[in-house]
Every structure is written in C-alpha cells, then in structure tokens.
C-alpha cells in the first residue's frame, strides 16, 4: 500500500468517485469527483491529534460497527493516504453547531471547513474495474436471528475481534459481554454525577438521601420553604441513584464472571449455495473459517471450534493440508450439516439446531459464539457502477465477462478483476489483477500504434 502512495507514476484519488466515462477504448475521458475532506491534503501530516480532541463519536465501520471512531478520522491507522477526513454528516461544525476544536488543535493548520467537492476530467486509454464485493447481509436469513442475537456475528466481524488492533484487541469477548461492560462504565459515570448532585442537596438540607426518601414516604418530612423547592427534584434523583446502585452491583457480579468465548461454531454457506440467494460457491469462506478457528485457538488454547458445512472446499495450493492441520492441532471439528436454525439460549448463548448427517439425529447444541461465513455478494451499487461505465452485469450482479476473455467486460477497453468479476480469494485476485493490467496495456499500446 505504501508503494502506491509514493510511486511517481501513480496518481492516487482517494475519497473520490467516478461519475462519467465518455469516449472509446484508447481515448476515454473519465470524470471523477474528489469529495471534500475538509482537511488540506498538502498540510495534513496524519498525526491524529485532531481525532483525540474531537468530541463526536461515530460508529466505526472499519471495525464493522464494534467500535467508535470520531467525526474527524482516518479509515484505519495505517491507511494510505494518511490524510484525515471530516465526516460531514456528524461533524458539529458541518452540521451547523459550535465546535472547531480540531482546527484549534491542528498545528499544521490543515482543517478547512470551506473545502468543496472538486471535479476533475482525466483522459485515459483503458480502465481496470476492481470494485470488489460486499458481504452478504445475514439478516436476509431470519432463522439465523443475526439481528436479534448479539452473539451471532459475521466472519468479517470475527476477523476484527481477532485483530490485535481491533475492538477487543485480539481477545474474543462476546458482544453481549462487551455490552455489559459498556453499560457498567456508562452507569458508573452517571452515578458519579448523580452522587455529586445528591451531595449538594444533603449538605443544604442536613440529611442524607435515604433518610429523606424514607421521611417523604412516611409523610413525616418537615417541609421548610427551602426544601419545598428542592423536594421533587431531590426525590427523583435519589430514586434513580438508588436503583442505579442496585443495577451496578448486579452488573459488577456479571462482569466479574465474563470469560472469553472458547466454544465457537462456524456456519458455512450463509447466502451462498442457497437457491433463495446465491446458488454459487463463494470459494474462500471454508478456508476463511478454518483460518479464523486456527487463529482463535492460537489466541486461547482452550478454544474449540466446530465448522458446520455441507462439505469443506479446500481447493488450492496447500489448502487441504491447512484444513487437516487445523483439525489435528487447533481443536477444529468439521461437521457435515446444514444448520436449520439458531435460537436464543441461557446466558445469551446461541443454540444451534441441526441434523448431524453422520448419525442422522437432530441435535440442539449451545455455543459461546456463532460465526456466519457470509457469501461474497456483488457490491450494493453494482448497477450504478455498470451504468456509469456502460458495461453489462451478469444475472447475479457481477460484471459480465465471457469464458474465453475472462478479463474483458462488454465495453472495449474496460477490464475487470478480483471479486468484482466473481467470488475469489486473495491469490486469485492478485493473479487476475495482473492479467487485467496486461489487457489494459494491450489496449493503450494498440491505440498508440494506430495513431
């Protein structure tokens, strides 16, 4: 990635979108909108001092919504370019409120709230489309209860949990347990604030809050003129505080019992090889699940994983050996089954209902955490991209190609590679990318010779 940022032949237009492509092979004009970052790319050093002082938390989609970023942010820590960007939907200044602390903090003077979108026209001879894929939305399979069960996550979410730079710093804590911890922290904060307010009342009226509440309830409270003004507010705050104390004690007990998830289920073919959604095999998910199970076991040697699938497709150099190694040394069990349903169990543990096809028995089994190996789906705005480029989609929404010319789209001079072409793993994407680059060179050199 670093090489892309500093190569003299590469002009990097990040935070930009293609809006039109006129002309023909060898002589296209691309219209690109460079969206306003509200940060001067020439001045920003990427130090991150602005994000430290920004008061506005926003859901971090890089971490699949399991962490928070700020309204001024970089997509991820090692991102290229390192230029930060202000999210116009959440920034206080850009939504018409008072703030601007980032501008005060920035020593480089890079913050520019008046920046606007810039439209550039670029003459190009050929185009390589590498727009990738989207993770299949498992909410479309209601029987897996992805939206209602906290401890059912996608493989991409689990990937972030395993990452040392992720929301759980590589420790696999269940989302429901993390919610408990967050609730505890928030409650402690609000209790401290309430305690201060109560202390003020207590000092002013010379009695402690429980005694005040008791007297109020018994009707024995001597209401002075001063107390009459404070009485209702004091009673309300004291009641909330006492209830909060009880909840906090219960939370502390629950949080103390929290352990990392060590019994993990992986469900394969979520959305793929499924006639309701995508009939094709996404190719990489079996290996992805095995890899995640191996890494989880590396992080915590007590981890036991079960991978539920119709079959494990380990097709690739060294893949079958990897699968066997996972079974032998990382406590991974491969179970031939298609999970029918996930239902809520005790202590937020998801319960899987499936038929074990080797014993022909219907089984209910409880797990700490369930990981869904979601299908590789076409990007959500594939139709829009195809329309802009003037190229055709196949029936699933990937860009259409022919078997004999696998990199060529339906418009001459435009080539496709990676998961924009069809589901594939990283080595295959890289190989296709080199092929598409070679095809693009053929196009521009042919046009150059002809002219």
């Amino acid at each position: 990635m670093l090489d892309v940022g500093r190569h003299p032949n590469i002009s990097l237009l990040a935070y930009s979108e293609l809006t039109a492509l006129e002309g023909e092979a060898g002589d296209f004009t691309a219209t690109v909108v460079k969206k306003a970052r509200y940060v001067d790319a020439d001045k920003c050093t990427g130090c991150g001092a602005c994000t430290e002082v920004c008061p506005t938390p926003v859901l971090d989609l890089y971490n699949e919504g399991h962490a928070e970023r700020k309204a001024i942010y970089s997509w991820f820590a090692q991102g290229i370019p390192s230029t930060h960007v202000i999210d116009p939907d959440h920034c206080r200044v850009l939504t018409g409120k008072k703030c601007g602390v980032c501008a005060k903090k920035c020593q480089a003077g890079a913050i520019d709230f008046d920046q606007t979108d810039e439209i550039v026209e670029i003459p190009v001879g050929a185009v390589v489309v590498a727009t990738g894929y989207d993770v299949f939305d498992p909410a479309r399979i209601p029987e897996y209860r992805y939206t209602t069960l906290d401890n059912v996550v996608t493989a991409m979410e689990f990937e972030r949990f395993l990452s040392a730079s992720g929301p759980t710093e590589g420790h696999v804590y269940r989302p429901s347990d993390r919610k408990l911890k967050q609730e505890k922290i928030a409650l402690e904060k609000s209790q401290t604030k309430l305690a201060k307010t109560l202390a003020r009342f207590e000092k002013k009226h010379g009695m402690d809050s429980p005694a005040f509440l008791e007297a109020l309830e018994a009707g024995s409270l001597e209401v002075t003129e001063d107390l009459a003004k404070d009485k209702d507010k004091w009673a309300e705050k004291a009641t909330v505080f006492l209830a909060g104390d009880d909840r906090l004690a219960a939370l502390a007990q629950e949080v103390a019992l929290v352990k990392t998830a060590t019994k993990i289920a992986f469900i394969q073919c979520v959305g793929s090889r499924d006639l309701r959604f995508y009939p094709f095999c996404s190719g990489y998910c079996c290996m992805h699940a095995i890899k995640e199970a191996i890494i989880a076991h590396e992080h915590d040697n007590d981890t036991q994983s079960v991978i539920f699938g119709m079959d494990i497709r380990a097709v690739g150099k060294g893949f079958e050996e990897y699968k066997i190694r996972g079974g032998n040394s990382s406590q991974i069990a491969y179970r031939r089954s298609r999970v029918a349903e996930i239902v809520p169990g005790e202590n937020q543990a998801p319960v899987l209902i499936y038929e074990d096809t080797t014993t022909r028995k219907i089984v209910r089994e409880s797990f700490d955490l369930v990981v869904l190996s979601t299908a590789c789906a076409p990007v959500k705005d594939a139709a829009g991209v195809a329309d802009t480029l003037g190229i055709a989609l196949d029936k699933f929404g990937f860009f259409k190609t022919e078997a004999a010319t696998p990199m060529d789209t339906s418009r001459e001079g435009i080539f496709v590679c990676g998961c924009a072409h069809s589901p594939m793993d990283i080595p295959e994407s890289v190989a296709q990318a080199s092929s598409a680059a070679a095809r693009a060179v053929q196009t521009v050199m042919k046009s150059k010779k002809a002219s």
């Binding site: 990097l12 935070y15 997509w75 290229i80 050929a126 185009v127 991409m156 972030r160 990452s163 890899k291």
Partner: protein, 55 residues
C-alpha cells in the same frame, strides 16, 4: 489519445493492477471511494494458508 490508465477501486486487486502498470512505466490514476486504500483485505487480521499479516 493517451496511454494513461484508470483503475477503479483500491482493494487488493486494484492495488496490484496499479502497481503492475506503474512498474511497467504507465501513468495510473487510482480512484478509491473511501478515504484510504486497502479495501476488505485491510480489515483482515491474517491470511490463509500461511497466517501472514494482511496489511
């Protein structure tokens, strides 16, 4: 008429195409929708079958 090439998307495929073309001496314009390149691969912790770091 130009030999410049546009690459749309800065994930692993787009990055590889871009670097190949740039190394061959062509001027490449890499357009990425998000504020930094890397795509889905940058979200991965490790990659199979070698368990190498993704970034």
């Amino acid at each position: 008429m130009t030999t410049d090439i546009l690459v749309l998307g800065g994930g692993i495929a787009g990055i590889q195409s871009t670097l190949d073309l740039a190394e061959m001496g062509f001027k490449v314009h890499l357009v990425e929708r998000l504020s930094s390149i890397g795509g889905k691969m940058a979200q991965l912790d490790k990659t199979f079958p070698t368990n190498d770091c993704a970034i």
